[in-house]
């Protein structure tokens, strides 16, 4: 019978079930519940069929299930060819194939598909945990593959695991060579499916009451920054994101007509030199500390100092930045910008307008007015909370005069409205404030929960000046983070709360490892590849050069592994008797009588006995016994007799006595 038509035996089906289950397990958290349930049922069914040696289900039944599942997937995702729907289809088809398959040939294809489904897990997560999990999965799948190759006896699962482990370990050097040297290209080959980036969190280009505080519950990382200069003080850590100009009375919106070129500003004081790695958030902006000097390629700097990427940030992006925390803008404000910076919707928030007019009358200049407004926040009964009450139609009025409890967006919004009403051009900047210094990796981690909103006002002779009204209400928000600013009773991600020192240390270590993982492994892009090659002394790196280097190194690595492997084929003396005889000959050689290559034991005993008369009485019976054991009747060769002889060889003097 041809091997390919051979039917699987229950053990092999069991392996396949295990491999499939492991490979699909991480997908279950994303798949619709009914696909998970269907897959589990079908897997159990296959196990039942195998266990009880039943007939396979009819093709028509399987077709029906497949048709139903495809329809269900289409209804659920609204498409079939996307990332999520594709994975769902793959999972269902894989399990159905398992119910249809009887021959070894199909099982081989299923194993390859297992590898393929394995890689789709990386579309969702490339964390260290996922990598470790997939390593185990690949190990199991490879062991399954090995299990399909036995035609005679099955040496058992231990052998399979060990062989698979050895095979994978031996593959590591070649994998490293390929990973480092395979020429990378930047950018996708074709446009990604629409849903490739769904599920990322981050700031939005709109801000209404409650929009920033909803990010508080996310401990997802927004960006990490490592500083070549000293890490700035917390009150300088304003990570500038979208800038909002347009207010409709309730919602602030980022302007679509931001002036294209930034103002020339006069930079004062020291610069901050740092590198930012921003996590994908599927929006265009990048983040920098106030005030970015220039945009990293290929992003550009807008007139209101936002960093805008040409495309949505769909992958982890790393860039070098220089910022100047102190600056001065001596220019006049453009009339267009002045108009936009003062615009307020007619009729909305009337009480705020009245209050602004009153305050403005009392204040002699802009500065006094700003201080007066901040004093209201500071001295009156305002309250900083992450769970503010909901606001209605005139949210600023309601916030200023009744609820008086809010989060940064409430303060920033109210402050900006008061400024505009008082004739000072003002705008809202959203972004992140602060961050946690990771002492293990010496970098700063900024999470989504650090999202913040503040205001900027135009002061003649100084330019756009940052005013953070939240800091007036709750200075600790800026100095020590959200956790310090809100009461303990409010829900916050664990990361933001203080905790045991060892726990904090462990968390920082883990984050630091994750950061290195991101930087070294996940962010190994074309750019990093070229940098590495230059550092290794390869000039004029081109893809041809990389490819030939990869080919040469891969060949050498394979040769080395091959030679080491084949070395094990050399005949090894496993027979203890022969080994002991060789040892005995060595001992006699040390006495001065080496055995000639062509000399048999009998002749050797005679010659050695004649040369060493005082040992003759030992040599001759030893060799006679050896001849008995080795060439005598098979029945004599018992293990105990051999080991007795080995012992007597051991007791034979190894050096001549003097």
């Amino acid at each position: 019978m041809n091997a390919n038509q051979e039917r699987l035996h229950p053990g092999q089906v069991g392996w396949l079930l295990l491999a499939l289950t492991l490979v699909m397990l991480p997908h279950t958290e994303r798949l619709p519940w009914w696909i998970t349930l269907l897959s589990a049922l079908l897997l159990a069914w296959r196990a039942y069929i195998t266990w009880h040696a039943l007939h396979m289900p009819s093709k028509w039944l399987l077709f029906t299930i497949a048709g139903g599942a495809v329809g269900g997937i289409y209804l659920h995702y609204g498409r079939l060819l996307g990332r999520d729907s594709g994975v769902a289809l793959l999972v269902v088809m894989l399990v159905l194939k398992l119910l249809e398959m009887v021959a070894l040939r199909d099982a081989m294809i299923l194993v390859f598909l297992c590898y393929f489904v394995g890689i789709t897990n990386f579309l969702y997560s490339q964390s260290i945990t996922m990598a470790a999990y997939l390593l185990i999965v690949v190990w199991v799948v490879t062991a399954t593959l090995i299990g399909f190759q036995f035609r005679q006896q099955q040496p058992g699962y231990r052998y399979q695991f060990r062989s698979a482990g050895v095979l994978l370990m031996q593959s590591l050097p070649l994998m490293l060579v390929l990973f480092v040297l395979f020429p990378r290209i930047s950018g996708p080959l074709w446009s990604m499916p629409q849903d490739a980036l769904s599920g990322t969190t981050g700031l939005s280009d709109e801000m209404s009451p409650g929009s920033v505080s909803k990010l508080l519950s996310s401990d997802a990382i927004a960006l990490r920054a490592s500083f070549r200069s000293a890490i700035p003080r917390p009150n300088q850590l304003y990570w500038r994101g979208p800038v909002m100009w347009d207010f409709d009375g309730y919602t602030w919106k980022a302007s679509r007509f931001a002036s294209q070129t930034p103002h020339e500003v006069e930079r004062l004081g020291a610069m901050i030199d740092y590198t930012v790695t921003v996590e994908p958030h599927s929006r265009r902006w990048l983040f920098a500390l106030d005030l970015p000097a220039a945009a990293p390629e290929p992003a550009r700097l807008t007139g209101d100092f936002q960093l805008l990427n040409p495309d949505a940030v769909s992958r982890r992006t790393r860039y070098n930045m220089i910022s100047y925390p102190d600056w001065r803008d001596n220019d006049e404000l453009l009339s267009l910008d002045r108009r936009r910076g003062l615009a307020l919707p007619a009729g909305s928030n009337p009480r705020t307008a009245t209050m602004a007019a009153e305050l403005r009358k009392k204040a002699s200049d802009d500065d006094t007015y700003i201080q007066a407004v901040l004093a209201i926040f500071r001295e009156q009964n305002f309250y900083y909370t992450t769970t503010p009450p909901l606001l209605g139609a005139n949210p600023v009025d309601q916030f200023l005069f009744s609820t008086r409890a809010g989060f940064c967006e409430h303060y920033a919004s109210a402050f900006t409205v008061l400024m505009r009403a008082g004739g000072i051009p003002a705008r809202i900047v959203t972004g992140y404030q602060g961050g946690e210094i990771n002492y293990v990796g010496a970098y700063l981690t900024v999470r989504q929960a650090d999202a913040h909103a503040w205001a900027e006002v135009w002061l003649n002779g100084r330019g756009w000046t940052r005013v953070d009204p939240t800091a007036s209400v709750s200075p600790s928000r800026v100095e020590a983070g959200v956790a310090a600013a809100v009461p303990q009773s409010e829900l916050l991600p664990r990361q933001l709360r203080g905790e045991y020192e060892w726990l904090q240390r462990a968390r920082m270590t883990w984050d630091s490892v994750t950061n290195s993982w991101n930087q070294v492994v996940l962010e190994y892009t074309q750019e990093r590849q070229l940098q590495l090659m230059e550092r290794l002394g390869v000039d004029d790196v081109s893809w041809q050069k990389l490819a030939s280097l990869m080919f040469i190194l891969a060949t050498s690595v394979t040769l080395v592994v091959g030679v080491l492997m084949l070395y094990r084929l050399r005949g090894r003396r496993t027979d203890p008797l022969i080994k002991a005889y060789a040892r005995f000959c060595d001992k006699l050689a040390r006495h001065g009588v080496p055995r000639y290559p062509s000399e048999g034991p009998q002749d050797y005993a005679k010659r050695a006995g004649a040369r060493l008369p005082d040992l003759q009485s030992q040599i001759e019976p030893l060799i006679a016994r050896y001849i008995d054991l080795r060439y005598g009747d098979c029945a004599v060769t018992e293990a105990s007799a051999v080991s007795a002889w080995v012992t007597s060889v051991r007791n034979f003097p190894s050096r001549p006595k003097h």
Binding site: T142, L172, M175, T558, L569, R570
Partner: protein, 354 residues
């Protein structure tokens, strides 16, 4: 009975009585039969086939060939798909997994090669069979290395495969059954020793053309006339020597007894293996003579009849001799005589046949 596959010719002989111009034409031979010529060229140059090897062969590096199997091709296709996906989605871990699997594939080439390397193969004894039966050739695989070899396959025609495992430091015997269509000395021909272990992605093979031989006795005639009468001057009727009437008793089986004499009924009654004894008629002398067979039959049919008679005479424990045109075997009894006679029949005019 299954018809055996035709033997493939690996040497190209000119037709007998070739005219002189054939020699000049022979230069163009590769053009006439390009595939056969290419195959022969490959066999000589690449596969290093130089005919039968006496003794044992060791599968050294130059004897082992390796190519991706069908699954290996599918595997490579799957890896290319994974690589494209990794590039498109910029999945670093996707690259790592893809390259890991690629390295695994490369590594499996080494492992598959190693599964065959340094195996020593020698031919075991093949028991003689009758024409029309299956000749069972034994191949002894010796593994001196410290690694067990699994799933070593053997095939002669590419369709029927036999598999064996050879444990580390041990030897194992594989049997290949080949239909024996003609009497004479049969050789197994070129046997392909192959393996796909451990991942099934590569197919490594080596050719073993061992000096194994199996004697094939002539086909036994099924409806042969009864044994010819022994010489009349002995005055004995066939009734004494023939058939099972002169059954003399049972003795316990000893190795070497003909299976035909084993009392299978007794064995079925769980009385142990017993051998039937017949009253030997040493004085009955029977000559099985080529000339006693009708010359209207062809050579093979006459040999078949003689074979039948040899078996019958041996079963009846008659002392018999065999007379062939060039050979005369003196009358004797016993298994040795049977073998001798059958071999003479098997090799009758053996050298003379093309």
């Amino acid at each position: 009975m299954e018809t055996p596959p035709p033997n493939r010719a690996y040497t190209y002989e000119p037709p007998p009585h070739a005219p002189r111009w054939w020699r000049f034409l022979s230069v163009l031979r590769p053009l006439l039969t390009p595939w056969r010529w290419l195959r022969r060229y490959l066999d000589r140059w690449l596969f290093q086939l130089h005919g039968t090897q006496a003794g044992s062969i060791v599968l050294a590096q130059r004897r082992i060939f390796i190519l991706p199997s069908r699954y290996g091709t599918i595997y490579v296709a799957a890896l290319l798909l994974m690589l494209t996906g990794s590039i498109n989605y910029n999945l670093s871990l996707g690259f790592i997994l893809t390259f890991m699997l690629a390295a695994l594939g490369v590594n499996s080439i080494l492992h598959t090669f190693r599964n065959l390397a340094r195996l020593r193969i020698s031919a075991g004894r093949a028991e003689a069979v009758f024409c029309g039966e299956y000749a069972r050739f034994k191949l002894i695989f010796e593994n001196i290395g410290a690694l067990s070899r699994y799933s070593i396959g053997l095939t002669r025609d590419g369709r029927h495969e036999t598999y064996i495992d050879v444990a580390a430091g041990q030897s194992a015997t594989a049997c290949i059954d080949i239909p024996a269509p003609r009497r004479g000395i049969m050789r197994p021909g070129r046997i392909t020793v192959f393996t796909r272990f451990p991942l099934g992605l590569c197919y490594a093979w080596a050719y073993a053309d061992l000096d194994a031989r199996c004697t094939v006795y002539p086909r036994v005639e099924t409806q042969a006339p009864a044994l010819p009468l022994p010489s009349a001057h002995h005055g004995l009727g066939l009734s004494h020597g023939l058939g099972q009437e002169d059954f003399a008793g049972l003795r316990s089986y000893s190795p070497g007894d003909s299976p035909r004499h084993v009392a299978w009924k007794a064995a079925a009654r769980e009385q142990g293996l017993m051998t039937k004894q017949f009253s030997g008629r040493a004085d009955t002398e029977l000559w099985l003579d080529w000339r006693a067979t009708p010359d209207t039959l062809d050579t093979e049919a006459r040999l078949s009849r003689l074979t039948r008679w040899v078996l019958d005479a041996h079963t009846a424990s008659i002392s018999f001799g065999l007379r062939l045109p060039e050979i005369e075997l003196q009358p004797a009894t016993g298994d040795a005589q049977r073998e001798r006679c059958l071999e003479a029949l098997a090799l009758f005019e053996h050298g003379r046949r093309a």
